[in-house]
């Protein structure tokens, strides 16, 4: 930690020498990924990258210069911050004066850092996968998946104050896939870990064994189009809610006209009374930071309470532009937690054993979801990875993949029948750019009536 803090102090001193008003952010990732395909390790990789971001302010002007660089090359970093300063001087003025970050105190937040997970070896990742898939592979059924883990360090300093903010977290995401080469079906089980003790290969094995058995023994069917009672798994619930709560509650998006939530929705019931969601940085497993990029302390922020929309989030720029008060949401990730319900249903076996008076379609995962109409909160995506049709007579069929094009209110509105009282953490991180762990805590299962299937595949 001290090396990072010393570097930032040195860079701050450089910026002050240059007469710059500047915020400096350090990002370091130590990433590991073991990738499996066709029952082999198809790639074993590690990346160590240091990124710096210099944001220069000049009254109403602002510019940013980013680097992936050698952390010992001070000359290059100094040139980087000078470049940001030069750019800010010639930038076009904004119509609002951007607020400067100010860190009045030091913040060190390592609640979500686990040295044991940080030190996980390639051999341990392989052993985990071997346990998760033990006895489930055949000539036809192949193992795929990823074991991704890493350490992310973010530190921030600015020329307006002497405080430093330092955050370090560890995260892991494991996806284990079994697929039939001849049939082309695929099932998966996933796990998120913030510390090594979260890892549970046996739990993944149980889920995979359950799904693989059904996919080998039960009859596949093409579903008729129409409305279904659907139970969503945690991946589906987390990914839909991440958009519904994340982009939906953005004050900037609302003011620009592309949120399905409007100003008049504040205080109104927009979802089922069973649905309560908050952004809770207090939960280490959700990687929330205790302070945002502007040095504001962060606390639990209710978004939906018993279905009633509570508040828009306001990032600093949007607040500056629209004359609002920022809400501490200038962070790389939100930490949404969806309250549990009352249904005791801990795993797939329990779900299959629940008494039911009509067929239930289990959709664990929604593939390639996209927003069709932002004003209506309309999204579309396809089922994938281990869907089941649980017949009311107790039998099980395997549905070919289906497409649903539905509004957020269809997922979380009055159609909601129950949520499980068991919750799981689901890691939704995408690493197209820098490592940035994101996770939601959601009920293990969410049961909704009236979900419409608009397309149904005729085969795997």
């Amino acid at each position: 930690m001290n090396t990072v803090l010393d570097l930032l102090k040195t860079l701050r001193a450089c910026a002050l020498e240059e007469g710059l008003v500047m915020a400096i952010e350090y990002h370091e990732e130590d990433s590991y990924l073991t990738r499996f395909a066709n029952s082999a390790i198809s790639l074993n990789t590690s990346e160590h990258l240091v990124r710096l971001k210099f944001t220069a302010f000049d009254g109403y002007r602002r510019a940013e210069y980013g680097m992936i660089t050698d952390p010992k090359d001070l000359q290059a970093m100094r040139e980087g911050l000078r470049t940001a300063g030069r750019m800010a001087r010639v930038a076009e003025p904004l119509s609002f004066e951007p607020t400067l970050p100010y860190y009045m105190k030091d913040v060190v937040d390592e609640r979500a850092y686990d040295p044991a997970l940080a030190g996980l070896t390639s051999d341990e990742r392989l052993a985990f996968f071997n346990t998760a898939a033990a006895g489930l592979e055949t000539e036809d059924i192949k193992l795929s998946g990823i074991f991704s883990n890493g350490t992310t360090t973010v530190a921030q300093i600015c020329t307006t104050g002497e405080g430093i903010q330092y955050f370090r977290v560890t995260d892991a995401k494991i996806t284990v896939v079994l697929s039939s080469e001849s049939q082309k079906w695929e099932v998966n089980a996933e796990q998120s870990a913030q510390k090594k003790s979260d890892l549970d290969a046996a739990a993944l094995h149980r889920e995979l064994a359950f799904l693989a058995r059904h996919y080998q023994e039960d009859e596949p069917v093409q579903l008729s189009l129409g409305k279904y009672r659907v139970v969503f798994g945690p991946a589906a619930t987390a990914e839909v809610m991440e958009i519904a709560a994340g982009y939906g509650s953005s004050g900037g998006a609302m003011r620009r006209g592309y949120s399905y939530l409007k100003e008049e929705d504040l205080g109104r019931r927009v979802f089922s009374p069973l649905v309560s969601v908050s952004d809770d940085p207090g939960i280490p497993a959700l990687y929330g930071r205790t302070a945002d990029r502007y040095g504001r302390d962060r606390a639990e922020f209710p978004v939906f309470k018993e279905g009633v929309f509570q508040a828009f989030t306001w990032e600093q720029d949007d607040a500056d532009e629209f004359g609002r008060t920022p809400t501490g949401h200038d962070v790389d990730q939100y930490s949404f937690s969806v309250n549990p319900g009352s249904m005791d249903c801990a795993d797939l076996e329990a779900l299959a054993a629940l008494p039911r008076d009509e067929d239930v379609l289990y959709i664990p995962y929604i593939h390639y979801m996209n927003i069709v109409n932002p004003s209506k909160g309309l999204v579309t995506g396809s089922s994938r990875f281990g869907a089941l049709l649980l017949r009311k007579d107790g039998s099980v069929n395997i549905p070919y993949n289906v497409r649903l094009t539905q509004a957020f209110a269809d997922f979380f509105g009055d159609g909601v029948r129950w949520l499980s009282k068991q919750q799981v953490v689901y890691n939704t991180s995408s690493t197209y750019g820098r490592r940035n762990p994101v996770a939601l805590r959601v009920p293990r299962f969410l049961c909704v009536d009236g979900i419409e299937i608009s397309h149904s595949n005729a085969s795997y």
Binding site: A37, N38, N44, Y65, A91
Partner: protein
């Protein structure tokens, strides 16, 4: 540095590696500007440098990368150690298709390096565009430009040594407005290939201003338009959506790593099977598609891929029949062995990495549809009884095996009895890939053909984004479900 990398590649061979390569990026620079409602909201530059090392040991890959060039030894050793552990679980030992060792260089065509253009000039360009978009009905207006330039030094243990210098320019404009029902409508324009090069000179202000006028006019038409009908009819896809249709349901479906199951844990598979090559009727006889990395001016043209294989122009679909795939050196060997017949003669030169810190994977180059013989857009409309012309990608969602899809477009124009009857909003269409391409009933001629860029194609784990292109004509497909 080059000699040091060569020595270390030799060192890996001495440790038992069967193959190794290193990609050193002395620099990769980017510059982005976004003007939103007159505010220069984003003015960002960045630079990165580092090295990535790939090692093949006992049939398994290891990779490591770092921006810390003072610690190169550790990068090479980590890559080797990663391969050593990967070799503990091998089912089909990696073999690489043959290639010749090459010493060459490639530079993308450009006359004016966009990084040499003063920032004030770029801002001035955006301000003129912003003013042109600032019209009644426009609630949000955005103009953006992104520039990248990078130098890549590729070295491998087979003796190849390639230097690439690539410059890209990605500009665009977009307007949004609120319709009578409170819905957000939008219209955008991203230029296709302009001229023969891709430097600053490719930004022609007059062309941008003409299109600024057009998109604001079309946005205002959308604000009072009827909803897209919900029925079955012909869809006439303009290049502004045909490029994405091609990308998602031909390009991704024909990546050989997807076909062989290497993307099952994330991006997905493909409905295509090895036995389909040479036999599968992918589309009607009007459909001919190719992977052409030799188009002179497109982000999908790069000289040599990250296996060190020269860029090529290969048929993928020949008059409707599937004949080729998007491949690198590893996958063609595995596919031929699994199929027990030589489907592929060699790598098609499409193994590409997004940066030094990612491993190369099968990637699209320029996935193009050949122009047809059905004339202009007007000719195609004239011969359409009941249809809708669609343009502008708004949303896209594709099945995990690329077997079905749902697209929403910015705008539509209803066609009845060979005439355009007016603009429709909230247009969508969906279909099953094979049925859709087999319903291809008209392909526009060269006048309708445009190269469109993609600068954000996501794939792989760890994730990568890639730049590429699609040259596509206007195409008509029949009996398509629209409006859902």
């Amino acid at each position: 540095m080059k000699q040091e990398l060569k020595n270390k590649l030799d060192g890996l061979k001495a440790q038992g590696a069967t193959y190794a390569d290193a990609r050193w990026y002395p620099y990769e620079d980017s510059n982005q500007l976004l003007m939103w409602n007159g505010n220069l909201r984003d003015l960002t530059s960045s630079s990165q440098s580092g090295v990535g090392v790939r090692v093949l040991y006992k049939g398994a890959w290891g990779f490591s990368a770092s921006s810390d060039l003072g610690n190169i030894d550790q990068v090479f050793q980590k890559a080797f150690d990663n391969a050593r552990v990967a070799a503990e679980r091998v089912t089909f030992p990696v073999r690489l298709a043959e290639k010749d060792a090459v010493r060459d260089n490639f530079s993308s065509p450009n006359q004016v390096d966009p990084f040499s253009v003063p920032l004030e000039e770029k801002v001035e360009f955006l301000k003129k565009l912003d003013a042109a978009l600032d019209k009644p009905g426009v609630a949000q207006r955005m103009c953006s430009m992104e520039f990248t330039r990078k130098q890549i030094v590729y070295l491998d243990s087979e003796g190849s040594e390639i230097e690439k210098n690539i410059v890209e320019v990605f500009p665009g404009i977009r307007v949004m407005g609120i319709d009578a029902q409170g819905g957000m409508q939008s219209r955008k324009w991203m230029p296709g290939r302009q001229g023969a090069s891709r430097g600053w000179e490719s930004l022609d202000l007059e062309v941008f201003l003409r299109n600024a006028d057009r998109v604001t006019l079309e946005l205002n038409q959308l604000l009072t338009a009827e909803d897209c009908p919900r029925d079955q009819r012909s869809v006439i896809l303009l290049p502004g959506i045909m490029y994405l249709q091609t990308h998602e349901t031909i390009g991704h479906a024909l990546e050989l790593d997807r076909i062989l199951g290497y993307e099952l844990s994330f991006a997905g598979g493909s409905f295509v099977r090895l036995e389909d090559f040479g036999k599968l009727r992918y589309g009607s006889e009007k459909l001919t598609a190719r992977a052409d990395a030799t188009v002179p001016n497109s982000p999908g043209s790069f000289g040599y891929d990250d296996d060190g294989v020269q860029a090529q122009n290969n048929l993928l679909i020949d008059q409707g029949i599937l004949v080729g795939a998007i491949t690198g050196r590893q996958m063609v060997e595995e596919a031929n062995a699994r199929a027990r017949r030589p489907i592929f003669a060699g790598s098609s030169g499409a193994n590409r990495a997004t940066s030094f810190y990612r491993v190369p994977i099968e990637r699209m180059t320029n996935i193009n549809i050949d122009p047809g013989t059905d004339g202009s857009l007007e000719d195609i409309v004239r011969h359409t009884e009941k249809g809708v012309i669609l343009d502008g990608d708004k949303s896209w969602s594709i099945g995990s095996n690329r077997e079905q899809f749902h697209f929403a477009t910015d705008i539509g124009w209803r066609v009845e009895d060979g005439e355009v009857k007016g603009v429709v909003k909230n247009a969508t269409y969906r279909g099953s890939t094979l049925a859709f391409y087999n319903s291809l009933s008209a392909v526009g001629d060269e006048r309708t053909w445009e190269v469109r860029y993609v600068n954000n194609c996501g794939k792989g784990a760890p994730n990568q984004i890639m730049q590429l292109g699609h040259g596509v004509p206007v195409c008509r497909f029949d009996n398509v479900t629209v409006g859902e």
